[in-house]
């Protein structure tokens, strides 16, 4: 094995890991304050992608927001997805927030199902080609004979910037501290004067803007829009959240990197006959981890169920 290959695999694993970590963070943020596993999160990402184009049934899409100046485009998409996420709280999740987590899971399933089918209604079900940020998709030469896709480096950089911003938010701002308190014990935090509703809305805003950023990255990478593209990546975010320990944000990041790196490494290492069963292996690992540590790899104080 030569080192350029290893280096390229490592960068690829890191970029997958970063992407999954962002997704897992979006889910973990909501789970920590609301005990909600938001299956519609992937569909928020899909909505961000579809917002780029004009509604039509043509195979090659005409750009609408996608034709704006890049900075304006990014802001528009992020704001739009954030608004969708926030609306989902006020219209739907707010009314079931006292139900059991499993009930909320069905609600989020139903919401995702509605969103997907509304997209089919407006844009039709066929895949659509979209060429977003073509300058990012090419490879870049780092050293002699070593070139990696530029986009992978961008994903890693964006993720780390966001992680630093989030850490600063959670450490330095009042809202961040309140959110950590609520994640630990929501009822107690409320009794101490934290405004629950406002805090949950803030969590939806953070989660939604992460989804908006991810839809930009995801569409650039895929180059194709599908009405169910969010659901397939959502499954991996979900695994990452479970592995990391639901409700723990550090756990979500760790879980995201674990899943990303594991899936890249497993496809490189697994023997030829077993390789098709990679997804099955990943889900088996999820079950094993659930049995071994039902609260996930990273324990939070709030995770222990009380009588």
């Amino acid at each position: 094995m030569d080192w350029p290959y290893i280096f390229q695999t490592a960068i690829s694993a890191l970029s997958f890991g970063s992407f999954y970590a962002l997704g897992a963070l979006g889910i973990g943020l909501l789970f920590s304050v609301l005990r909600l596993i938001n299956f519609a999160h992937g569909d928020f990402i899909t909505i961000g992608g579809y917002a780029l184009i004009v509604p039509s049934s043509a195979v090659v899409a005409t750009l609408s927001i996608g034709g704006f100046h890049p900075a304006l485009l990014a802001i528009c998409i992020i704001v739009l997805v954030t608004v969708v996420a926030l609306l989902s709280y006020f219209v739907v999740f707010q009314h079931v927030q006292n139900s059991s987590p499993a009930t909320m899971m069905i609600v989020s399933f139903a919401l995702g199902y509605v969103l997907q089918n509304v997209i089919v209604m407006i844009y039709e079900g066929r895949p659509k080609a979209v060429n977003l940020f073509p300058e990012l998709t090419g490879p870049i030469q780092i050293a002699d004979g070593v070139s990696v896709p530029l986009l992978q480096l961008v994903i890693i950089a964006v993720t780390w910037l966001l992680l630093i911003a989030l850490v600063l938010f959670f450490r330095r701002t009042a809202a961040g501290v309140q959110m950590r308190a609520a994640a630990e014990d929501f009822r107690m935090a409320r009794m101490l004067g934290v405004r629950g509703k406002r805090l949950i809305a803030l969590a939806f805003i953070l989660s939604g803007s992460l989804a908006g950023i991810m839809s930009l990255l995801f569409v650039t990478q895929k180059g194709v829009l599908m009405y169910n593209m969010g659901l397939s990546i959502m499954l991996f975010f979900f695994i990452a959240t479970v592995i990391g320990g639901m409700g723990s944000l550090i756990g979500a990041v760790v879980g995201g990197y674990a899943v990303g790196i594991a899936s890249v490494v497993l496809s490189a290492v697994l023997p030829e006959d077993v390789r098709p069963f990679r997804d099955a292996c990943v889900f088996l690992i999820v079950i094993i981890i659930l049995l071994w540590r039902p609260q996930g790899l990273v324990l939070t104080k709030a995770a222990r169920e009380r009588v």
Partner: protein, 351 residues
């Protein structure tokens, strides 16, 4: 007023929800069978297969309180297990070349095939449930979800046995309206008898308060496992029925969409009642059918594609927001006559 002291009537009263549900379904079946409408009959058969699935879901979810996302996986196992035994004798080695010689060369009758398929699903449920039923609450739901994904991705890639991403075509279409009805009644009866049994009672006690049930000596893990295995058995049979209704099988049809639709039916009717399970299937099947017809257009009028899906999703959200106990309010069908006849009779005897 009806005198309820005859043994027959007392029996009817005990099994009243079962009687009402079976007779209700029978009336629907007879009407559609007499009308001779073939398209309507197809919808009806699909609905009856769903009654089997949702009754099995009720058996586990309703009594244990654990929402399972994994039962469609057992349905898939059952569907393919029957296909291995009954499908397309002449082209079987083309679709599924990896089967052992016995299965390649022998074709079983539909009934033993479907029983064996249910049995296979039950065995798989026993093995996997032995691990997953140790979990509680949301962790158990996630475990069943992961289980469904494991089954799905294994069957999708295991192409020498399942034809993988393409489909197995040529199953005999044995599931007629009446076959569907018989299996639906069997499934309802099993779910009813189970929930009236001491095991059902023990499991429901653990649903309402796990700690108290444990303290009262209920083996929560064992009871959950029992319900899981029994309901997987019926899901496996439903899979066999489903394959022999469509005449073909694809792995993709046993994924999130089917999981969501069947769970929606249970939630809509009322998760904790058998009546709810059946009512949910009937209502949602009718609504989806009507909307599908409107989508293709009636006269000049038509509604946009996938309106049916959007409608189902919205209804489920609304139900879970405004009436979590579903249409039936988690209750079974009431005995419509004098409220408590045995008590009244006992009073009369005393005086």
């Amino acid at each position: 007023m009806i005198e309820a002291n005859t043994p027959v009537l007392r029996l009817v009263r005990t099994f009243w929800p079962l009687v009402v549900l079976s007779v209700g379904l029978l009336i629907i079946v007879v009407i559609i069978d007499l009308s001779g409408d073939i398209i309507l009959a197809q919808t009806l058969i699909e609905g009856l297969v769903r009654v089997v699935i949702v009754a099995a879901l009720y058996l586990f979810i309703g009594n244990s309180g654990i929402i399972s996302f994994g039962h469609i996986g057992f349905m898939m196992i059952g569907a393919y297990a029957t296909a291995w035994q009954t499908c397309c004798p002449y082209t079987r080695d083309m679709f599924m070349p990896g089967l052992p010689t016995y299965l390649l060369n022998n074709t079983h009758h539909f009934i033993p095939a479907i029983l064996l398929a249910g049995l296979l699903a039950a065995v798989v449920a026993l093995i996997t449930g032995y691990a997953i039923m140790r979990l509680s609450g949301i962790a158990a739901s996630i475990g069943t979800f992961a289980l469904m994904m494991v089954f799905y991705s294994v069957y999708l890639r295991w192409s020498t046995w399942t034809s993988g991403a393409s489909s197995v075509i040529g199953l005999p279409t044995t599931t007629t309206v009446w076959v569907g009805y018989v299996y639906a009644v069997i499934a309802i009866t099993a779910a009813f008898l189970y929930s009236r049994s001491r095991w059902g009672l023990a499991l429901r006690s653990s649903r309402d308060d796990e700690v108290a049930a444990r303290a009262a000596g209920v083996n929560v893990f064992g009871q959950r496992l029992l319900a899981f295995v029994v309901s997987a058995f019926f899901c496996g049979m439903a899979g066999g029925l489903f394959g022999h209704f469509l005449g073909m099988l694809t792995v993709d049809s046993f994924h999130l969409k089917m999981t969501f639709i069947t769970l929606s039916m249970l939630v809509l009717g009322g998760m904790q009642s058998l009546t709810g399970a059946v009512v949910g299937v009937v209502v949602l099947t009718v609504v989806i059918d009507v909307l599908r017809r409107l989508e293709t257009g009636v006269g000049d009028f038509s509604i946009p594609t996938s309106s049916a899906e959007v409608f189902v999703g919205v209804v489920i959200i609304l139900i879970l927001i405004f009436r979590q106990s579903g249409i039936t309010g988690n209750a079974e069908v009431y005995w419509p006559f004098k409220p408590d006849i045995s008590a009244a009779a006992a009073m009369k005897r005393q005086s």
